[in-house]
Amino acid sequence: MNAPAAAEIVVERLQKRFGRFVAVDEVSFEVGRGQILGFLGPNGAGKSTIIRILCGLLRPSAGSVRVDGIDVSRDPEAVRQRIGYMSQKFSLYADLTVAENLRFYGGIYGVRGAALGARLRHALDIAGLAGREQQLAGTLAGGWKQRLALGCAILHAPHILFLDEPTSGVDPLSRRRFWDLIHDLAAGGVSVIVSTHHMDEAEYCNRIALISQGRLIALGSPGELRRHALGGVLMRVEGHPLERLLERLRGFPATRDVAVFGNAVHVLLDAAAADDEAALRAFLAGQGVADVHVDRAEPSLEDVFVQLVGAQPREREAVR
Amino acid sequence: MKLRRVRAIALKELLQTWRDPRSLMMALLVPVMQMLLLGYGVNLDIQHVPVCTLDEEGSFFSQALLKRFQASRYFELVEALKRPGDIAGAMDQGRCRLALVVPADFSRTIAQTSHGTLQAIVDATDDNSAALATAYANAVIAGFSANVQAVAMQRQGLPVQPPALVVQSRVWFNEDLESRNFIIPGVVALVLALVGAQLTSLTIAREWERGTMELLVSTPVTPMELLVGKLAPYFVIGLLDAGICLAFALVWFEVPFRGAFTTLLVTTSLFLVVVLSMGYLVSVTIRSQVGASQIALLLTVMPISLLSGYAFPIDQMPAPIQAITYAIYARYYVTILKAVFLKGSGLAALALPVLALVAYAIALAWLAARAFRKRIE
């Protein structure tokens, strides 16, 4: 299912400049039919610029974007009809009912008559809102609101769905239910692009595009990124006091980065160091730090993010 | 109360006002604009009323009468009409507000009967100026007819006697009867109330709206420190505005100033305490900038322009309205301003309105200090 045989979105060497500022710099990727791609990156990395270009709202400075085989810069209107958009700050009308909200968005996308009735039922089913058609949107609980927003975004049966931080701050149960929905939609052939900087949202994506300073710095499945992108081994060292431990670990030759994490210290070691665990223990013993507990830690997506993005010079923040 | 915290708040407030173009404009431009607008715009005198004439006689005599009108600064002859039918058109199109019709037998009738009739048609759309124009026209004609009588009597060899009873009006305090002199001192009150209440009405509401209040209430700052720190900069700005208004009044409009500056300073300070506390009170209560600013506007401009007596004399209002004006804090300040400017009254002579202002200042400052609670609900 994940084989990107029929690529829905093909982005080639996309570039966008605002004056002398390069917002998107030679970015290429593909999203296959039914795939969920996560755009992960700090604020101002260029995520929203790319999404605006994909939606046909901005013209690229160079490179090409094809959606369903249509060149976005040639025919943005045709592309827009195939796109659904939903964000955490999605604008639902609190004083309209569930059905009225759906109908309103149907109207915007020109869905009418018999088609509207069928789509409405479909959206209500998918969002699990059947039976709540007459409830005011403002009185829905957080998770329901989110699903109504999704229902509105898919009312015109888009081929591509953009989600902007769709589940930040939502309770975990609602979040899981929501992502189940997204996976269902993807299984039905909808290609999904998620823009976020929440790692827990990224975990649900088939592939993750890590974006920083307008550049694509890593692309892979969450597992691939966790295992390979770090280019090192993450160790968890427990001991007391943490400050002294931190200091000593900085002196270990293979150490790339050290940071306190809860009641332990996380140490990132160069992958080259052969038997890291034993070597690290021996080193600490030699430094007079005994009574420590050392084991390998599974790097999180956040570790990957921080290492890869942090390795880049942060000139942009200073400029902006 | 810790002076250090008051100073920190005042300094912050000044910085924010300085960096906010809207506040800055409000503080510095509004006084100038109001002064010019009201100084020139609200002028209850009529001058240069456009007059059309229809001289059906065309004699030396009739022309002498019309020249009298021309000589008066209240009138200006703009057009000589040919036919009676032209009058309505000229008036409809606003070419004139008064039409004088001299009948064809004007001088003959006077010579025969020593009574003449002259028709004056007034555009009374604005009844106030119509009444004034009529009165001025009567005065011009009365002067002319007195002249005519004297000439006639001399001709008949009769001694010329002055009229038995002559009203000799003497105008005090505003000798040249300029309504500008009457209005401009009052504009100071309007400006201070407008600027003072507007600026302070935003200060607390802004903190709520921008989310800075939650942090502020978690600091050791006391409600009193907050009040003083927030109002101090606007007090200074208010005095500055009063200075701007005063300069305009004295230098630009040449309004006489006969009182003592200290009297003005003391009473202006009192008035500022009243309006600033009121703005603060509104701000604490309303918590939204737009809402607070509108309420502040409602509490200042409307009652002050209508009921403070700055332009419309209170003693000419119906009794129930007059009663209401006692509740308008600005009425006392306007009374004081006019007295200080035009009569040169001192504090002793103004004891009553000054005491009323003191009472208002104490009451509002007390309410404002109590209104703010260090809680979020």
Binding site: M1, N2, G41, P42, N43, G44, G142, S168, G169, V170, D171, P172, L173, S174, W179, D180, H183, A187, H197, D200, A202, E203, Y204, N206, I208, S221, P222, G223, P241, A259, V260, F261, G262, N263, E298, E302, F305, V306, V309, G310, E317, R320 | K2, R4, R5, A8, I9, K12, Q16, G211, T212, E214, L215, V217, S218, T219, P220, R375, I376, E377
Partner: protein
């Protein structure tokens, strides 16, 4: 241990909605205590009551032995509260903001300069001292907020969702400062809606619908996980789910990016899962027991069907 923060039976309602319903806990000296839960769980209300900016309807709380409800003003100098919304003046510069708060807390100028320099250096904010706060990025705003909150050297710091909207890089820097504070003996209460962030706290209060469901360390919480979590990497996750969901001992199957997470009642079920997949000829890379995340725990302990021991 000496409890610095004590709360018992705290309750607050807004109209008909119960925001906080009888919550009590203790926080020890030098601890990072996390208030964790989704939006609307009552985190903000709880922190506001502890900070003495909102009066509780019922219950008692004290910080450093001072009654928060009866004497909030005596509390001010000892605590620092950083509200959820950026509470600084966007039209003042970084330095002006710091100075304003230092003055309100009557910090001597020399001390202020020394502390501001140290805090700004720690948060890589030195080059931005003269920039208007409104022109800072989200992460820098939060770091400025923290700097202002710390300029009077409080003993207890209450932070309401300080890392919301902050990217992971700035978030790490933020936590580095928090850990440095902890090592200086400062007690920290921090609320977060990001469950992954909860791992960084010494102890957690898991909140749901205004109730305190669990209050313990991440490790203790993890030990409560009934059964085990098995990750099955596969390119056909839907088929994996269909095959595994009906099996005995499988509590739930969650689709994630590159496979599924299977919650089983016992780690010993792994061979059974593998057998079921092989039997149906469903391709998969590996099935291995993984550490549950706080989110997994939240769902397992507080989701439907869980015997919430609250």
């Amino acid at each position: 241990m000496d409890a610095v923060v004590r709360a018992s039976g705290l309750a607050k309602r807004f109209g008909g909605v119960v925001a906080v319903d009888g919550i009590g806990f203790e926080v020890s000296h030098g601890e990072i205590f996390g208030l964790v839960g989704p939006d609307g769980a009552g985190k903000t209300t709880l922190l506001r009551m502890l900070a003495g900016v909102m009066a509780p309807d019922a219950g008692a709380a004290s910080i450093d032995g001072i009654d928060v409800v009866a004497a909030p003003e005596r509390l001010r100098e000892r605590i620092s509260y950083m509200p959820q919304r950026f509470g600084l003046y966007e039209d003042l510069t970084v330095d002006e903001n710091i100075r304003f708060y230092a003055e309100l807390f009557e910090v001597p100028p020399a001390q202020r300069r020394e502390r501001a320099a140290r805090l700004l250096a720690a948060s890589a904010m030195e080059p931005f001292r003269r920039r208007l706060a409104g022109q800072l990025s989200g992460g820098m705003k939060q770091k400025l907020g923290l700097t202002c909150a710390l300029v009077h050297a409080p003993r207890v710091v209450l932070l309401d969702e300080p890392t919301t909207g902050v990217d992971p890089l700035s978030r790490r820097e933020f936590w580095r400062i928090l850990y440095a504070l902890r090592s200086e003996g400062v007690t920290l209460l921090i609320s977060t809606a990001y469950l992954d962030e909860a791992e960084r706290c010494d102890r957690l209060a898991l909140l749901q619908d205004g109730h305190l469901r669990f209050c313990e360390s991440p490790a203790e919480l993890r030990a409560r996980m009934p059964g085990a979590l098995v990750e099955v990497a596969s390119t056909s996750p839907r088929e994996v789910r269909a095959a595994l969901a009906p099996l005995a001992g499988v509590r739930s199957v969650l689709l994630v990016g590159d496979g599924v997470h299977v919650h089983v009642d016992n780690a010993a079920r792994v061979p059974q899962l593998e057998a079921a997949l092989s039997e149906r000829a469903i391709a998969f890379d590996a099935a291995r027991v993984v550490m549950p995340t706080i989110e997994d725990l939240f769902v397992a302990l507080l989701g439907p069907g869980a015997q919430a021991a609250a």
